[in-house]
């Protein structure tokens, strides 16, 4: 077994709100590791802490507690020059397509910029690679001369993807990279990710709220809820036989909105809102929405148990209950 490319060890990230009155526990004790060349998927509802986790993995957020290792090194033990060097190998494609695009820079210069910073290649070679990537994300060469405001939402997101892919970093955190894309372009982009993975051995941490996307691209999937993992396992096994009631609820969530007249008959499995990460429920944090919750769930935090080789779940009744209604 080779050394994991990233190891996350009991990571906790807390934010103090602007008014300093509350502490948000955005990531609250997460451990996992990502192997070289794999695609590790993270799914979870809005606000569950996925982006926060992704940013911590590429050292854009410092752990409040716990550690993130890049290979065998703790990046925070490095000098700032070394850290900068290392960050290049660990990149993120942001959920917000504007975050990495300078509005005053032409598209082709934005795509080439990371290569310019790294240096070591001729300008002609860097230009060639930037143009090639523009083509591979399905945009005509003419787009290189435009500015970000002259692009549609989906086009901007593709530039964002191209910019990071030119660098061929060892690990890329992909934060909702295809949410803004329609199905046909989405398929092209996911194929591009797969091709580059094969060509250059890239590793991806794939963050999304879309179960269809994550189960299609990932080798392993972690299911996040209120800052913690509820389940982690091989993609196929997790989709076929989830152990955690939350995963099961996510799987059976009806992707189709219904008019109110039809709603009584609908199986609403995930009732209510996610509780606030400021003050997560005692015991199992999913218990307030869990159809299988029992007394024990509020009293005792469920252990992280290995149910099958490499397949973990944090539920007192993992695998013994089924929440699916008839």
């Amino acid at each position: 077994m080779s050394t994991p490319i990233v190891t996350v060890d009991d990571l906790r990230i807390r934010f103090l709100t602007q008014d300093k009155r509350e502490t948000v526990k955005a990531v609250d004790g997460v451990s996992f590791s990502v192997d070289p060349g794999e695609t590790f998927g993270v799914i979870g509802e809005s606000g569950s802490g996925k982006s926060t986790l992704g940013r911590a993995v590429v050292c854009l957020l410092k752990p409040s507690e716990g550690r993130v290792l890049h290979g065998e090194t703790d990046p925070y033990m490095l000098s700032s020059a070394e850290l900068r060097q290392r960050r290049r190998a660990f990149q993120i494609i942001f959920q917000d397509p504007n975050a990495a695009l300078n509005p005053r820079m032409r598209i082709i210069d934005s795509i080439r910029e990371p290569l310019d910073i790294i240096g070591g290649t001729s300008r002609a070679e860097r230009d060639r690679r930037a143009r090639e990537m523009l083509d591979r994300v399905g945009l005509p060469a003419e787009f290189g001369a435009r500015y970000p405001h002259e692009l549609s939402g989906g086009q901007k997101q593709r530039i964002n993807i191209a910019r990071v892919l030119t660098v061929r970093p060892s690990l890329i955190v992909c934060d909702e990279v295809v949410a803004a894309l329609d199905v046909s372009i989405r398929a092209d982009i996911l194929n591009l990710f797969a091709d580059l993975q094969r060509e250059f051995g890239l590793t991806y941490l794939f963050i999304t709220h879309d179960l269809g996307v994550v189960s299609h691209v990932s080798s392993r999937i972690a299911v996040m809820y209120l800052g913690r993992f509820m389940e982690l396992g091989p993609a196929e096994a997790l989709a076929r036989r989830p152990f955690h009631p939350y995963t099961e609820a996510l799987m059976s969530a009806e992707p189709i909105p219904l008019p109110s007249s039809m709603r009584e008959t609908r199986r609403i499995i995930l009732q209510g809102e996610i509780p606030s990460p400021t003050n997560p429920p005692s015991g199992c944090r999913f218990r307030t929405r869990c159809p299988a919750a029992a007394d024990r769930c509020s009293a005792e935090e469920p252990a992280w148990r290995e149910m099958e080789p490499g397949h973990f779940a944090a539920c007192h009744f993992a695998g013994t209950v089924t929440t699916r209604l008839p």
């Binding site: 397509p97 803004a180 009806e254």
Partner: protein
């Protein structure tokens, strides 16, 4: 309610003219939900911006309840802006990072009315609740929220205006299925209660099928097919609509990313194909297609199809 006729918008770039929107016409019925669908870059946001007067068309008219918005008096225009609210595609740059959520939601309200402090706070708490955020969210800044939470703040801001027409550009793309269904159900309830009209842009076709009453399928800036959602989805007549619907992801994970039936390169709005803009990718292309732009042939009640195949085989 809202009527677009012959709307055309071109952008000048260093490499020539981008024909983003070309001769687009459609009508949004009162209390209806009109969906615009089509591939990335086909002109959906541009159409929304024209309706919101953020862009000026080079030709064509937008009529709101019969009145041309380009020639409205200042007072009428002020009234129009009061009645039309928008949720922009980009939930990041549409929220001012230096303002608390309370101010962000209050500002558009205060541009038009003077509610008392208590009434304003109540309204803000109400719309936050509708989108599933706690009232305490009002005291925070945009960067303190996740992507999906910001999208919900943008929806809350539009709802707070109590508009009559809402333009929603990809309003739920950052939301997971459970919260997405909640938000859409609430939008439908509000529509039923207050008689709102929606224009929604979405790339999720399952959502469009269930949420909209009418649909316009856009291909490279032109309307390929339009009409009531049900017949268009049940019996698509334009080869592009047929290809688009064939690419709908099926629940089976093995087919989630089934390829679109449309083949070939995505043509560019900078240099759109002659005649029917879809002809280089169309499996049924024949003689008239590269030569002439197909008119919108009627294909049943309110259903129009811009394809030469319809010429000899009407509804």
């Amino acid at each position: 309610m809202l009527e677009l006729a012959g709307i055309t918008k071109h952008y000048r770039t260093r490499n020539g003219v981008v024909r983003a929107v070309e001769d687009v016409s459609f009508t949004v019925p009162p209390k209806g939900t009109m969906a615009l669908v089509g591939e990335s870059g086909c002109g959906k946001t541009t159409i929304a911006k024209i309706i919101l007067q953020l862009e000026r068309p080079i030709s064509g008219t937008v009529r709101f309840e019969g009145a041309d918005i380009a020639t409205m008096s200042r007072a009428a225009l002020h009234a129009y802006r009061r009645q039309v609210a928008a949720v922009f595609q980009d939930p990041y740059s549409s929220l001012n990072p230096r303002l608390r959520v309370h101010r962000i939601i209050a500002e558009p309200i205060l541009a038009h009315e003077r509610p008392g402090r208590a009434a304003l706070d109540k309204r803000i708490a109400e719309v936050l609740d509708i989108v599933g955020l706690p009232a305490t969210a009002a005291t925070l800044y945009p960067h303190e929220f996740s992507g999906g939470q910001r999208q919900r703040i943008a929806i809350a801001r539009a709802l707070a205006l109590q508009p009559r027409l809402m333009v929603l550009d990809e309003p739920v793309s950052a939301l997971d299925v459970s919260i997405r269904a909640q938000v859409l159900n609430l939008l439908q309830d509000i529509q039923a209660e207050f008689g709102l009209t929606y224009l929604i842009i979405a790339h999720d076709l399952a959502l469009v099928e269930h949420f909209s009453s009418d649909v316009a399928v856009i291909y490279l800036g032109r309307v390929a097919e339009s009409g009531p959602t049900e017949p268009v989805f049940a019996n698509p007549r334009h080869p592009y609509t047929q290809a688009l619907l064939a690419a709908v992801p099926l629940p089976d994970p093995d087919h989630v990313l089934s390829e679109t039936a449309a083949t070939g390169e995505i043509a560019s709005a900078l240099n759109p194909p002659s005649g029917c803009r879809f002809h280089p990718r169309c499996p049924h292309v024949f003689a008239p297609c590269p030569a002439t732009v197909p008119p919108a042939y009627p294909a049943g009640a309110g259903h129009h199809v811009a394809c030469h195949l319809l010429k000899d085989s009407p509804a």
